[in-house]
Assembly symmetry: C2
Homo-oligomer: 481 residues x 2
Amino acid sequence: MRLYQQLAQQLEVLLGDGTLAVGDRLPSIRELCAQRKVSPATAMRAYEQLEARDLIESRARSGYYVARPPAPVTTPAGIARTRARKTPVDVSDLVFEILDSVHDRSVVPLGSAFPAPSLFPWSKLARHLGSAARRADPWSSVASVSSGHAGLRRQIAQRYLRRGVSVSAAEIVITAGALEALTLCLQVLTKPGDLVGIESPSFHGCLQAIEALGLRAVEIPTHPSEGVDLGALALALERNDIRACWFMSSFQNPLGATMPDEKKADLATLLAHHDVALIEDDVYAELHFGAAPRPVKAFDTEGLVLNCGSFSKCLAPGYRLGWVAAGPFAAAIQRRKITSSLATSVPIQEGIASFLQQDAYDAHLERLRTALAAQQTAALRSLQQHLRGACRVSRPDGGYFLWLEFARETDSLALHAALLQKGISIAPGPIFSPRREFRNCVRINCGHPWTVDFDAAIGELGASLSAAASVSDRRRAAPRR
Amino acid sequence: MRLYQQLAQQLEVLLGDGTLAVGDRLPSIRELCAQRKVSPATAMRAYEQLEARDLIESRARSGYYVARPPAPVTTPAGIARTRARKTPVDVSDLVFEILDSVHDRSVVPLGSAFPAPSLFPWSKLARHLGSAARRADPWSSVASVSSGHAGLRRQIAQRYLRRGVSVSAAEIVITAGALEALTLCLQVLTKPGDLVGIESPSFHGCLQAIEALGLRAVEIPTHPSEGVDLGALALALERNDIRACWFMSSFQNPLGATMPDEKKADLATLLAHHDVALIEDDVYAELHFGAAPRPVKAFDTEGLVLNCGSFSKCLAPGYRLGWVAAGPFAAAIQRRKITSSLATSVPIQEGIASFLQQDAYDAHLERLRTALAAQQTAALRSLQQHLRGACRVSRPDGGYFLWLEFARETDSLALHAALLQKGISIAPGPIFSPRREFRNCVRINCGHPWTVDFDAAIGELGASLSAAASVSDRRRAAPRR
C-alpha cells in the first residue's frame, strides 16, 4: 500500500468510530505534513482520496472538514481485534454482562446498584464544588500527596463520633470511592494466595477484587436479617489460615442484613482472639430507617477493624469520594495509595468538605432516609400483590435492596434474560456467589420513586415466574423417553 | 477502669488529636447515651471528669463544648501504635522521606516533582468545574461505570491526532491520574514475579509500583539525552522473559531524555519482534519547547503500545485526571479499573472536558511552555555561575527537570540531608534506582519562576559540594592508621 493510502486509511478509522465527527476540522495540509513527516503531495492525495469518497469536504479558505457520510461507515475490523493471550478476563463475564444491562436508561432498573439520581442535591453540590475550587489554595493541589484534606477527615471523624465510635482524624485515609479503600485494605493485609473470609451471598465487587488480587475466598453462611453466622466463622477461623475478613455488617448487599450490636461485639472478640483483621464495608451506614447502627469498629479494642465508607450512596454518586478509618494500618494504607494512584482529587475533597460544613447534609440525609423507607414499603406492597407468597422477602431496616428467595427450581439467570427482553433488569443471585449459588434468589432495587413502571415490572416478574413454573410443570408431567 | 472513665478516655483521645477542636459541640447527654448504650449517669460522669480537667466546658441551655486547653494535651500512646507484622512497608522509606521533605512550603523545592502552582489557570478551571457539574445530567453520575466521559475521550483522541498519532476514542480509558493508568497497565500485562523492562535511572513511582505488585525489574541503561539504549534492550529481551516495558520516551523523568523519532520507530519494531508490550509513560508530552515529540505509539503497527497521559503536569495538578490509549488492551484495562476503583470522578471529567473545548487550553499551553523554557535557561545560568564545571547537566527540550552528574565521590544523599537543614530540597539520584545507584547524581526542578531564592539555593548547593569535597580531600590526605 502506498504512503498516502496508509494515511487515508488511518484517518478513515477515526472518521468511522466518531473520534472525528461530522463538522470537525481536520489538520491543515501543512499541519498534517509536520505531524506525520510526509510530503505535501502525500497529505494532499490522502485528503483527496477521502474527499472522493465523500468522507471529508474542503471548504474554501477554511480547510478540510468531516462530511456528513452518505452511508454508514463501518470500522475496519483491525482496530477492534483482541489478543486473547494478553488480555485475560480475570473477572467474571456474567457480572459485567449484568452490570452493563442496567446502563440502558430505558430499562426499569430493578437490577441497579444505585439509588435514583433524583434523590441527591446535585445543584447544591455543584455550587459547593465550584466555589470551593475557586477558593482553594493552589499549593494544596501540588502538595496533595497525603492522607487527604484535613478538614474533611475531621468531619468524617466527627460523624463517627455521632455514631458512638471513637475514630481519630489521623487514622482516616481519603480515597477515590469506597472500592479503592477496600482494595487498598486487601492489598495491605494480604498477599496473593491468601485466604479471605467473606459473606455468602456477598457483594460482587468483593468477589471481583479478591479474584483480581489472586486471593482465595472462604465463604461464611450469612443470615438474611442478622448477618454472618458466627459459629460457622469460628469454625472457619480454626480450620483455615484466614488473613482477613471482608464483611458488610449493616444493610449488607445483597441481603440487607444488619448484625445486632451484641453480635457485632462478639464478632470483634472472635476476630481479636484469632488476631484477624476485619475490612468492614460500611457504605450504607447513613441509610438507616430507624436508629443509626453502630459498626463493628465501635466494639474493636485491638485496632483490628478497618472501617470503609463512602459518599457515593448517601450524598454524591459519581464524585468518587470514600475513606477508610484504618487504625494502626493507616500509614501502610496511605503509602499503598500513593504507590497506586498518588492522591484523591483535591477539588472533589474541597467541594464535599464545604458541603458537609452546612446543616444541609443532615437535612438531605433525613429526606433521603424517609424517601427510601417509603419506597421500600411501596415495593413490598407490589411484591405482595404480584407474587402472592411465591417468594420470601427480606425487610431491611435501611438501604435500598430487597432479597427475594423463590422456590428451589427457579432459575434467576433465565428470569434475568426473559425480563431484559421486556426492558426490566434484575440482579440474579449467582452474581453474588463465587460458585454461582443462590440461583433461586434475586436482588431487587427499591431506591427509586416507586412509579407505576416499577409496579408493572414486578407484575412482569410474577408473570415470568408463572410461565417458567408451568413450563417446568409440563416438563415434569411429560412422559420420559 | 470504670465505664465512665473508659468513655472519658476515649473522648479525650479525640480532644487530644484535634478531631474535636476548640469550640466544637460534643454530643448531648441524651445523644451520648443512645450512641454508646450507657446510662445518663455514666455519660454525665464522663463529661464531669473531662470538665474537671478543663478539657470541655458546659454552656447553659446549649450543651458541652471543647474548651481551650490550659496546657498542651498529649495523645495517649495507644492510638498511634503500629503492628510491624501486619503493616509491612512495601515501598522504600527513602523515597517517602524525600517526598515528604518537599511538602514543607518554606523549603525551596528543587526536589519537587511538580511545576509551580502559579503556572496554572486555577480560577478558569474552577469556573468550568462548577458550571459543568451544574449542567451535568444526574444520570451520568450513577451510570458512570464505563471507559469515561465520551466527549473527553474524543477530545483526547483529537489531541493525539494533532501529534500525528491515530488513536481511536474507543481505545481510551479515563483514569484518576496517570499513575492509576500505569498501574492498571502493569496489572493487565503481568502477574506477580514477572519481569518488566525499565529505564535506568527511572521514575521512582515506576519502581514503587513494580515493588508493590511483586514484579521484578530489568534495568536498561538510558542515555541522558537520547533515552533507552536499544542494543542493551535487544540483549535483555533475548536473554530474559520480559513481559512488558515501562518507558518514558519523551522528557524522561529524571533525565529529561527524548528518544529521536528513528529510535522510537526502532523501539516499536524491536518490541514487536519479541511480542512485548510497551507501557509508554507520556505525561510530559505537552511540555515541549520546540516541535511536539511523537510518542512510540505513533510507530506501533501491532497494537502493543499503551500510551498513558495526564492533565496533572500541563493543566490541572491535583484534579487527578489521566488516561491510557490502550489499543486492544482497552477492554481488559477498563474491567480492571471497575474492579479496583469503579470509575473516575464524573464532575472532574465534565469540568476538564468543558475547559478543553475552549481555545483557552492551547493559549495556556503556549504560556506554560514559554515560561518553562525561560525558567530552564535561568536555572542553567545559575548552575553555570555557582557550580562552574563541577557537574555535567542535561539540557532537555521540554519538561522541567535537569539532571546533574557530579564527580564520582559525591554523595547526593548527604547533600540532600545537608541542604534540607538549610531549607532546600533536592532529589538525590538513588531514589531513581532499585539498587540505589546514581549516588553522585541529583535531579533539579526548574518548574518554578526562577527567583533569587532559587539562585541562592543553587549557590548553597555549590557551597555544600565544596565543603564535602574539602572534607573528602582532608580524609584522603590523612595518614592511614
